[in-house]
Symmetry: C2
């Protein structure tokens, strides 16, 4: 059985839990938090020298870091990762978009506004930049979805949707107005309606 | 024949060119620069709504964005992407590490210090943060390589090495002292010695 080391209220850590739930695979959860130093202990750094969560630990002790890499690893051979080469390329594209152009603004702005220990980083400049860049990411998503695409890659629900759902569905907590993005709102409902969906703090 | 839209002196755009060179595949190059508005024209935004380079355009007009997604797409079925599931997972892991924990500090610090149009963003706080985080990324790489790994994933040269090479080999221009990372230095030499290596501004 796999073990997922992660924070129960982190969007990045929600991603592999949501996929495992949809796959119907049992897994262990070990709570490791970046907010209480849990990701910076020698024991944790021995597992993940980059000191981040989530971390997937296989039954034989091998580990894999980076939420979207874990999604791709777990989804291999399932309906959540297309076999068509170009459709797969689009999954990769949206996963990198999520980590480079979306999470650093939408997830980070939520953290700045809601985590007490991040309050001193919440400067007016930082809040303005994350708002502008986060809205840019949401506009890119809106344009894709409003253009007749029900999901992000290959015409079907994939790990690209899981990755983008994680922080988009909480964007309101970062001060983003999802009402301005109706196609994104409709897509969030489609993701929630896909069989086996579970909410962020769900555990098996 | 594929076309790569990109900047000749960008590390992200170097990645697919280096892989295509090593694969011995011809391709067209269209210079599109973020520094002169080239990524923000209506024609370019119609191809890539996120307004970034590189962009891969297939012969039939379909496009794929995100440098590391392009690497994975092009490397499918070649020696640059392992077929073993866990080794492939490690390739994914290092590609996401590169885009989340490495490029935003090492590449961005180089841009802040060397691009005149970025000079106003080069505040003392920004330079200090990118220096600290960039050195953290280099230390994670050093630990991996000093631990007996010749390359980043699966024991052989892969697209993970191409992605990490792109900005690491220019880190000195961002004010990073590569002399402090001897295993990284030795790995840079191994990457350069791999058959078919070409420098950043090479074109076919």
């Amino acid at each position: 059985m796999h073990t997922i080391h992660g924070m129960i209220d982190s969007g990045n850590c929600y991603k592999p839990r949501l996929l495992m739930a949809k796959l119907g695979e049992p897994f262990g959860h070990v709570e490791v938090s970046s907010r209480d130093g849990g990701t910076r202990t020698p024991a944790y750094l021995a597992k993940n020298p980059n000191g981040m969560v989530p971390l997937l630990e296989l039954e034989d002790g091998r580990v894999l870091a980076e939420s979207n890499a874990i999604l791709l690893y777990l989804a291999e051979g399932t309906r959540f990762l297309p076999t068509d080469r170009y459709a797969r390329g689009l999954v990769y594209q949206w996963l990198f978009f999520e980590q480079y152009s979306h999470e650093p603004y939408i997830a980070v702005r939520k953290a700045l506004l809601t985590f007490p220990e991040r309050a001193r980083d919440a400067t007016p400049d930082r809040l303005a930049l994350t708002l502008e860049r986060g809205n840019k990411a949401l506009a890119v998503m809106e344009r894709h979805l409003a253009g007749g695409n029900a999901f992000f890659a290959g015409g079907a629900y994939s790990v690209a949707d899981i990755a983008l759902f994680a922080y988009t569905h909480m964007a309101g907590q970062g001060g983003f107005d999802l009402g301005a993005y109706p196609a994104v709102g409709a897509w969030l409902k489609r993701v929630e309606a896909d069989p086996g969906h579970v909410p962020i703090e769900w555990l098996p």
